[in-house]
Symmetry: C2
């Protein structure tokens, strides 16, 4: 699982505390991340409809919809792509008594079992939203929203 997922998760949470566009340079400085590379991930989030971007001075990125409407799965899928965790390469087709026309990604019992586990993983991630995580954080650290907003203004 790539590094960009962690960046995207925390960046989305921070943006949920701000309702104005924040430029890449500020978001990168917040966690000391490489700006150009973080920007690639932000672009992926825009393509996925999770963020919107604004050009020009005072532009930047902001959430495209309410935090309660953004699941962790949305963010993970935006960064990692749509592939399943386990990729079936159909080695069964090289085995005995097998036919070329069969799609073993569907019929192979291992592929099915792995897909079941994949779905369980996605179900968990789909059931947790940025709003849920934000509530968890605010419960343990009530000062977090103000701290975050202040630091973003400071880094602007």
């Amino acid at each position: 699982m790539s590094q960009g997922v962690e960046w995207a998760l925390h960046t989305c949470l921070n943006l949920s505390w701000v309702d104005a566009p924040v430029p890449t340079s500020t978001l990168a400085a917040f966690y000391e991340l490489p700006p150009a590379y973080l920007n690639k991930q932000l672009q992926a989030l825009v393509r996925a409809g999770i963020l919107t971007s604004t050009s020009g001075p005072r532009g930047g990125f902001q959430l495209a919809r309410a935090p309660a409407a953004i699941s962790l799965l949305d963010i993970v899928a935006a960064i990692e792509g749509p592939e399943e965790l386990f990729q079936c390469d159909q080695i069964l087709s090289k085995g005995p008594g097998e036919h070329a026309g069969v799609d073993y990604r569907q019929s192979c019992a291992f592929a099915q079992a792995m897909r079941g586990a994949d779905l369980a993983w996605r179900r968990e991630l789909a059931g947790k939203t940025v709003a849920d995580v934000r509530a968890d954080v605010e419960r343990g650290h009530p000062e977090a929203p103000a701290n975050t907003r202040a630091r973003i203004v400071e880094l602007r």
Copy 2:
């Protein structure tokens, strides 16, 4: 998720239909896999206690215990290692108002949520055994065990 997992899963299933040692060369030829590299995965399965190996003529690999006592998680963990799917790099420690002494792999709300999803994934994999998959296969393809045994003898 690496290729070796698929090789290991199918190889363990095949071995569950044979109760004699099968050498790497035969197991590799079965699915046209690179023998030397497959051998690395088999060694990992031995280290994990899933297979046992026998040296000398008529030696090779066989299951170390009953198929019902080998879960898919056992095999996946043997090949992929013990790491969680999501690796928390604690970028929070670079954020505002944070202390160096905190372990964010434990306290970060995102890390906790990702770990929950990871556990759901593992729970599914731990609940499915090689014996379960074998039963599924034999239901749909009653000829599979005999075919597999015949091909292994043929490739010996």
